[in-house]
C-alpha cells in the first residue's frame, strides 16, 4: 500500500488542472459511502425543489385541517399517518424539505460570508484589529450556541428569518478563525511577498492570491457544517422558535407531536427520521469531500 502523501501517477496523464479534478472525482467515487451521501443529498434537494408537486395533500402544509381524521396510523392514503389536526404527515415532511434545506444554505451563506470577511480582515491587517476580532470570536464561542440563538430569537421575535440569522451569527466565528489562520500563514508565502514587492495593491493580493487558497478548507468545513446548521435549525424549531404554523418545519413537526407521543409515534418519528437522513447524507458527502480535498485528515 502506498505511504500516505505519495500520489501514484498514471503514465497517460498530462500534468495540469483537468486531471487533478479527474483524479479527485475518481477518488471520490472510490468511496461507496460518499456516493451514497451524494445520491441521498440529490434526492433531498430534488424533493425540496419539487415540494408541493410531490405531496399528495399539499394543502395540509398551508393551513387546511381535518379534525375528523386525527392521529390515523400510516396507511395507503397517508403513508406517514396523520397528525393531531388530521393533516397528512408525508405531505408535510416532503414540503418541509425545502424549509430545512433552505435554512441550512442561508445559514451557511451568512456564516461563511461574515466569517470570511472578518477573518480575512483580521489575518491581513494583523495587530490590534486582529486581536479585537479574535476577542469577539472568543466571546461568541464561549456562549453555548443554543442559548445564544435562543436569546437572539427572543429579542427579534420568532420567525424563520430570525432563526436563520441567529444560527448564522453563532457559526461565523468558526469560519473567521479558519480564514484568519489561513491568511496569516499564507501571508508569509513567497508568492505573496513577491506580489507585494512588485507593488500590487493589498486588496488585490488578498483576493487574487490568498483567498482562493482558503476556498478548499472552507468548502470542507461548510459541507460538514451543513448538517450542523440543519440540526441547529431543527432544535430551535423543536423549542418553538423558527418557522411558525402552518409552515411544516421538521423540528416543529416533532415538537407538535410530543403530546401524542408515544401512542401516535408516527407523527414524531418520520419528521425526525427526515432530519437524521438529511444530516447523515450531508455528513457522508462532507466526509467524502474532505477526503478528496484535504487528504491529511484521512488515512
Amino acid at each position: 500500500m502506498a505511504a500516505p502523501g505519495l500520489r501514484v501517477m498514471d503514465v497517460t496523464e498530462r500534468p495540469g488542472e483537468p486531471s487533478a479534478i479527474g483524479r479527485a472525482v475518481r477518488r471520490f467515487s472510490a468511496s461507496s459511502l460518499s456516493l451514497v451521501g451524494l445520491a441521498v443529498v440529490a434526492v433531498i434537494v430534488l424533493t425540496a425543489l419539487l415540494g408541493p408537486l410531490l405531496a399528495p395533500y399539499p394543502e395540509d402544509a398551508e393551513g387546511a385541517i381535518h379534525a375528523d381524521e386525527r392521529l390515523r396510523p400510516p396507511s395507503l392514503e397517508h403513508l406517514f399517518g396523520t397528525d393531531e389536526l388530521g393533516r397528512d404527515v408525508f405531505s408535510r415532511v416532503v414540503i418541509g424539505a425545502r424549509i430545512s434545506l433552505g435554512v441550512g444554505v442561508i445559514v451557511l451563506v451568512i456564516g461563511v460570508t461574515l466569517g470570511t470577511l472578518l477573518g480575512a480582515v483580521a489575518g491581513f491587517l494583523g495587530g490590534r484589529v486582529n486581536e479585537g476580532i479574535m476577542r469577539v470570536t472568543d466571546i461568541v464561542i464561549t456562549i453555548p450556541e443554543l442559548i445564544l440563538a435562543l436569546a437572539i430569537t427572543a429579542v427579534l421575535g420568532r420567525s424563520l428569518a430570525h432563526t436563520m440569522l441567529a444560527i448564522g451569527l453563532v457559526r461565523w466565528p468558526i469560519y473567521c478563525r479558519l480564514v484568519q489562520a489561513q491568511v496569516l500563514s499564507l501571508k508569509q508565502e513567497t508568492y505573496v511577498e513577491a506580489a507585494v514587492a512588485v507593488g500590487s495593491r493589498p486588496e488585490r493580493v488578498l483576493f487574487r492570491h490568498i483567498l482562493p487558497n482558503c476556498v478548499s478548507p472552507i468548502i470542507v468545513r461548510a459541507s460538514l457544517d451543513m448538517g450542523l446548521a440543519i440540526l441547529a435549525a431543527a432544535a430551535l424549531g423543536f423549542l418553538g422558535l423558527g418557522a411558525q404554523e402552518p409552515m411544516p418545519e421538521w423540528g416543529a413537526l416533532v415538537s407538535n407531536s410530543r403530546k401524542t407521543f408515544p401512542a401516535a409515534w408516527w407523527s414524531a418519528t418520520f419528521p425526525g427520521l427526515a432530519i437524521f437522513v438529511t444530516v447523515f447524507a450531508f455528513n457522508l458527502l462532507g466526509d467524502g469531500l474532505r477526503d478528496v480535498l484535504d487528504p491529511r485528515g484521512r488515512d
Binding site: 393551513g63 387546511a64 385541517i65 379534525a67 375528523d68 386525527r70 392521529l71 393531531e84 389536526l85 427572543a154 420568532r158 418553538g240 411558525q244 404554523e245 402552518p246 407538535n256 410530543r258 403530546k259 401524542t260 407521543f261 408515544p262 401512542a263 401516535a264
Partner: protein
C-alpha cells in the same frame, strides 16, 4: 490485554443497566400519596403566590382559608360566617373558636387582620382582589373571634373572595422577618394552621415536594382514613404521567392530555374522572384595532360564523365542550339560551359582504402563548375557516409577558389573542367584570370593549346582595356581549383527573379545578 478488560467492563455495565430494578427500595410502608403535577411550587408564601390554577393544593395543605370550596359549595372553614351590611360596604366575619396554628397557638381575629394587612403591604399575588376595596384602616378586631371589615367601596361579592384568604401565623412571620415581611422565609417554610407540614429534607425544587400530615390538625381528619403525607412530583410530560400511572409509580395526575386519556380508560388499576370545566377559552378580538377590520362588527360576525366549533371537541379528543357563551355553565350566574354563533359559511360571507371588505383580502394576527399547542390548534381552526373568506390569519406565538405589556394600551394590543381565563372567585362576575367592563380597559378587558349598558348592568350586579337579582342582571349583560360579537367563544376544557383505583376521597371542586384537597383523601 487492557482493551479486552475494558470491553468486558462495558458489556457488563450494559447488561447490568438493562436488568429490571427491584422495587424493594420503597422507604417505609406508609400511606404516602404520590401525585404527578407539571407545575413547580417555588414559592409557597400565600401573600406572594395566589391561589391560582397550579398552586392551590399546596397552599390549602399548609394553610387554612376563611372559607373553603368543596364540591359546588363555599363552606365555612376558619370563618363561620361573613355577613354584610345593607349596602354591602361593611362586613362582619366570625371565626371558629377552636382553630390552632401548627405551633399550637390559636387562630384569632388578630391573626386574620395581620394576614390581610400583610397582603396589602406586600402588594403581590392575591392583593389585586382587595387593594381596590380595602386599605390599612379597613379592619377592626371586635373580639378574638370577630372582625369587621369596612370596604372603601361597596362590593356584594366580598365574601366570595374569602376562600383566597389564607391565614398566616403573625408570631412565626415576625420571628423570621428580615425587613421583608418574612417573604424570604415563607418561600419554603410554612407559618400556617393547615393539615400538612413541609418536609424540608424532601423539598426539591423542580423535582418533588413532600408534605407530611400533622396528626394534631385542629379540624381533625376524616374517619374513613387519612394520608401520612403526600408528594407532589414534577412530571412535565403527559405521556410520562400516563406511564407512571399505569406502572403504579404515582397515584394520581391532573395534566393528562386528552389523547392519553383514552389509553388510561382502557388500563386496569386506573380510574378516569372528568368534570365540566370552568376555564373557558376564547379568541379575543380587538374591537377597536386601528378602527379597521375587527373594529367592524360585520367582520367579527363573519369570523364567528366561519369558525368550525365542532372541531374543538375533536381536537380535544372529547375532553372539551363547545362554549355556550362568555361564561361556562358550571359557574353561578351562567345564562342559558344565548343567541350563539355556529359554523355557517353562507352567513359568514353575508356579513362580510356588509363590511367595507366584502372579498376579504386582509391579514389578522392571532397571538397565542408560546408553547401552548392547543392554543395554536384552536387558532388553526380559525385559519382554515377564515381562508374560505379570503382572510389570512397569521399564527404568532408570543411570550406572555409581551402580551401583558401590550394589553395596557389599545394602540399596542394585537388584533386577536388566544386566551384562557380561570375565574378566581365563584361567580360569573369574576369573568364578566374583568373581561368586558370598560373599567378593565388596559387590564383584563383585552377586547377594549365598551358598552355603557353592560357596564351599568355589571355595576348593579356587583352591589346586589340578592343572588337572583344578580343572576338576572348578569344574564342580560351576557346577552349583550354575545350580540355585540365581542369575541369568539370556542370551548371549555373538562377537568380530568386520573387516579389509581385504591385512591379514595376525591371530591371534585370546580373552583379548584386542578388542585385536590389532599386532607380528605386516603389510599387503601
Amino acid at each position: 490485554m487492557a482493551f479486552v478488560r475494558l470491553a468486558t467492563a462495558i458489556v457488563a455495565l450494559a447488561v447490568g443497566a438493562a436488568l429490571p430494578c427491584s422495587e424493594a427500595m420503597a422507604l417505609e410502608k406508609k400511606a404516602v400519596l404520590i401525585f404527578a403535577g407539571n407545575q413547580d411550587m417555588p414559592n409557597v408564601d400565600p401573600a406572594v403566590t395566589p391561589m391560582s390554577v397550579y398552586t392551590a393544593s399546596a397552599l390549602i395543605a399548609l394553610y387554612d382559608p376563611l372559607f373553603m370550596y368543596r364540591g359546588d359549595q363555599m363552606l365555612p372553614h376558619l370563618a363561620t360566617s361573613a355577613t354584610a351590611s345593607a349596602d354591602g360596604s361593611e362586613w362582619t366575619i366570625k371565626l371558629v373558636p377552636n382553630a390552632r396554628f401548627q405551633d399550637g397557638s390559636p387562630v384569632t381575629a388578630e391573626a386574620v387582620k395581620y394576614t390581610f394587612e400583610r397582603i396589602l403591604r406586600i402588594k403581590k399575588g392575591p392583593a389585586w382582589m382587595w387593594l381596590p376595596i380595602m386599605d390599612e384602616k379597613s379592619i377592626t378586631v371586635i373580639d378574638p373571634h370577630t372582625l369587621r371589615v369596612k370596604l372603601t367601596r361597596p362590593f356584594a361579592l366580598f365574601d366570595r373572595t374569602l376562600p383566597n384568604l389564607l391565614v398566616v401565623n403573625p408570631a412565626v412571620v415576625k420571628a423570621n422577618d428580615k425587613g421583608d415581611d418574612g417573604q424570604a422565609w415563607l418561600v419554603a417554610h410554612s407559618a400556617g394552621s393547615g393539615p400538612f407540614k413541609i418536609n424540608e429534607e424532601n423539598w426539591r425544587n423542580g423535582a418533588q415536594y413532600e408534605f407530611i400530615a400533622d396528626p394534631s390538625y385542629w379540624k381533625g381528619w376524616p374517619k374513613s382514613g387519612r394520608l401520612d403525607g403526600y408528594i407532589w412530583k414534577i412530571v412535565r410530560e403527559s405521556s410520562a404521567q400516563k406511564l407512571a400511572l399505569i406502572k403504579g409509580e404515582v397515584h394520581g395526575a391532573q395534566n393528562i392530555s386528552p389523547d392519553d386519556v383514552d389509553e388510561l380508560r382502557k388500563s386496569t388499576g386506573v380510574r378516569v374522572e372528568q368534570y365540566p370545566g370552568v376555564s373557558p377559552h376564547r379568541i379575543v378580538m380587538h374591537n377597536r384595532h386601528d378602527s379597521k377590520y375587527l373594529a367592524d362588527i360585520n367582520v367579527r360576525k363573519a369570523l364567528a360564523y366561519a369558525y368550525d366549533y365542532s372541531a374543538v371537541p375533536k381536537i380535544y379528543n372529547g375532553s372539551a365542550e363547545v362554549s355556550k357563551g362568555p361564561v361556562p355553565p358550571a359557574l353561578p350566574g351562567f345564562a342559558p339560551n344565548l343567541p350563539l354563533y355556529s359554523y355557517d359559511l353562507d352567513k359568514a360571507k353575508a356579513f362580510l359582504a356588509k363590511s367595507p371588505w366584502p372579498n376579504g383580502g386582509f391579514e389578522i394576527d392571532y397571538v397565542y402563548p408560546a408553547g401552548f399547542d392547543i392554543a395554536k390548534n384552536l387558532g388553526a381552526i380559525l385559519l382554515a375557516g377564515a381562508a374560505k373568506l379570503n382572510i389570512k390569519i397569521k399564527l404568532t406565538p408570543m411570550v406572555w409577558a409581551n402580551v401583558l405589556s401590550m394589553r395596557t394600551k389599545s394602540e399596542t394590543m394585537p388584533q386577536s389573542i388566544s386566551l384562557w381565563l380561570a375565574p378566581l372567585y365563584g361567580d360569573s362576575d369574576a369573568l364578566l367584570y374583568s373581561q368586558w367592563d370598560s373599567d378593565s380597559w388596559g387590564r383584563g378587558n383585552y377586547s377594549f370593549y365598551k358598552n355603557p349598558k353592560v357596564d351599568e348592568l355589571l355595576t348593579r350586579a356587583r352591589t346586589s346582595l340578592d343572588p337572583k337579582v344578580r343572576a338576572d342582571l348578569q344574564a342580560q349583560a351576557q346577552r349583550l356581549i354575545v350580540e355585540d360579537c365581542v369575541d369568539i367563544f370556542t370551548g371549555v376544557e373538562k377537568a380530568t383527573y386520573v387516579w389509581r383505583s385504591n385512591v379514595k376521597g376525591y371530591v371534585h371542586t370546580p373552583m379548584r379545578e386542578r388542585n385536590p384537597l389532599f386532607a380528605e383523601m386516603w389510599v387503601e
